[in-house]
């Protein structure tokens, strides 16, 4: 695991020195993160990287989990989906199941932190046992158009917190508590994002039978309708009439997701007969995903809906020209014609792809701008800094705080 000093070469020493100063200011405070899983999912991924760094900076950081059975997690998954806008019926029984497990966790989980940092809806009810300590609720999901009944249910708990945190301005709601804007981040030293030798990149392309003889357009995403893989193939076909190129659609397994299986088979059908389309159903392998991104000419993210869109962040960090839909957190990352190209449709995506294939110098400039934008705004070090400032803000009044 990387040490904080390893980030100096990427962010500059001054940034790391500042983090150390902030760590000093938080000495003596215990920060307790609570979520529902230690592995899998974006929250666990970010805490795995962040907790050791906060500790190294002198912040006594702990990480605890709530417990829950299958039924509870089915309900929380349903909450997650409807908050994201998916149509489903939420019943009184669902709320009862949620509260039953929550009450068990309230009696069993020790909330000893000076700051108790609750991630997402699953452990949200723990706030019912708050005493004199500070409580933060971190919402990692897009609640810009939430399911009303679920949101109102959660709001009963949210208002009991000292502060909440959202990833994008559009996700915030009218709330009586303070709401902070903290974007997610990528770790530039993780397997998914670290620099790779060209030979390794080539070996991965070779492993998956992707020759480098033509420009490669890649979308990395699950086989999910919201990622619009069929739209990606349509866009590629429109481009292919004018520019010879390859398409790589690579994503995680879909065996546990009936809709994913269906989408995958439709994708296979749509790509039939074109040997320049490479559909890769990959096991979780961060190094290989990294290599596929680095081996690509252009990265596409033609989602119909997105949370923050960290796959875009990853692509920008690799200085790749990116074409992406103007949804979710993507416009926070891509300023159209400056750090990438935004699109709204298949035709728009195809036009942007052709533009970039025909203007490599322009594409290169967009990629370089995108990388700097990520360096300044979306790396783990900025995320750690924002969290430390958030902790400090709980103990200081006013809009200008002298530390």
């Amino acid at each position: 695991m990387a040490s904080i000093n390893d980030y100096k070469n990427i962010t500059g020493a001054a940034t790391i020195d500042t983090l150390k100063v902030l760590g000093e200011k938080l000495k003596g405070k215990i920060v307790q993160h609570v979520n529902s899983t230690a592995v899998g999912g974006g929250v666990a991924e970010i805490l795995t990287r962040m907790v050791p760094i906060l500790r190294e900076l002198g912040v006594d950081t702990r990480w605890d989990l709530i417990k829950g059975g299958e039924q509870f997690f089915e309900v929380t998954k349903k909450f997650h989906n409807v908050l994201h806008g998916k149509k489903d019926t939420v019943t009184r029984e669902d709320f009862n199941v949620f509260m039953e497990t929550s009450n068990l966790n309230i009696s069993e989980v020790n909330t000893y932190g000076d700051i108790v940092f609750i991630h997402d809806p699953q452990p949200i009810a723990l706030v019912n046992k708050r005493s004199g300590n500070k409580w933060i609720w971190r919402c990692h999901i897009d609640v810009s158009q939430p399911h009303e009944a679920v949101w109102n249910f959660l709001k009963e708990f949210i208002v009991k917190y000292d502060a909440s945190v959202f990833s994008a301005p559009a996700f915030s709601q009218q709330l009586p508590i303070r709401q902070f804007l903290i974007s997610p981040s990528i770790d530039p030293l993780s397997d998914k994002n670290k620099d790779l030798p060209r030979e390794y990149v080539d070996s991965v392309l070779k492993k998956y039978g992707i020759p480098s003889d033509k420009p490669i357009i890649t979308q990395i995403s699950r086989f999910d309708r919201l990622k619009d893989p069929l739209g990606v193939i349509q866009a590629y076909k429109k481009v292919k009439k004018y520019n010879d190129c390859r398409l790589v659609l690579a994503g995680g397994g879909a065996s546990d997701d009936p809709e994913g299986v269906q989408v995958y088979s439709e994708v296979m059908e749509a790509s039939k007969g074109d040997s320049d389309i490479h559909i890769l159903l990959l096991p979780q392998n961060d190094l290989e995903i990294n290599a596929l991104q680095r081996g690509s000419t252009i990265i596409l993210q033609k989602s119909l809906k997105e949370g923050f869109g960290l796959t875009v962040t990853e692509a920008l960090w690799k200085a790749k020209p990116v074409v992406a839909s103007n949804v979710g957190g993507i416009p926070l990352q891509i300023k159209h014609k400056y750090s990438g190209l935004l699109c709204y449709s298949v035709d728009g995506a195809a036009f942007a792809l052709k533009q970039l294939l025909n203007s490599p110098a322009y594409a290169k400039q967009l990629g370089e701008n995108g990388k700097e934008h990520v360096r300044n705004n979306f790396l783990l070090t900025r995320h750690v800094r924002d969290y430390m400032l958030l902790f400090l803000s709980l103990f200081n009044q006013g809009n200008v705080i002298h530390l």
Partner: protein
Amino acid sequence: MSDANEIKKAAEPFRFCTRLHLFELTGIRAASIGDLLTHLKNVSGSCIYYHTHRFLQIHQNFSPEPPNDFAYWISEHLGDDELAERLASIDTVRFTSIRLLRESIISEIEKYLVEKPETYAVKVKKGNEFNFIQALSFVIPTDYAVSTISEFANVLEKVSVDSIYFHIFEAKLRLEKTANDFSNWLENSLGETKLAAKIAHLDPYTYTMEDLRKEIMKILRRAVK
């Protein structure tokens, strides 16, 4: 400048500080110019500050955006380039307080609406509303303290852009000092009136932070030659 001046020592050393921002969402949104105007009159000074300075922090190498979020939103989402240009051209550097800056933005919009009242009718589509955000500033002293112009120039080369940002923008506008911290110190502690004026006369809103650093360095290096 003579050699004697180069080693002139300030009575009061200059202590570099740095500032960090945390962004707070207000939940306040505007979908039309009328909404924007109403909220501009009522939101906190920290909101006005955030939306007129955010671009400086987000784009440190090259800025693709006009110098305030109001102008950007009016152009991108309301589609009114003329009003956007008027707001983008507000000479932020001449204001010594957020209150005055706010009044100027409001007055520009009000004047425009008198000329073109049809602008009131334009509404942005859902999801493209203007979200008011405010900035919480954290001021932190650094270990760097300097007493001569040479030392000042050497340290300026090393400090973070956050530090330069603090002394140039935040000290003047948010803490309502008469000039930026660098000019204040050069004039009051070293008696370098001309040098102080040269830095005070830069329009920092038209530079990226790295370019601004280079420009100030150039002025200082020239002075100690």
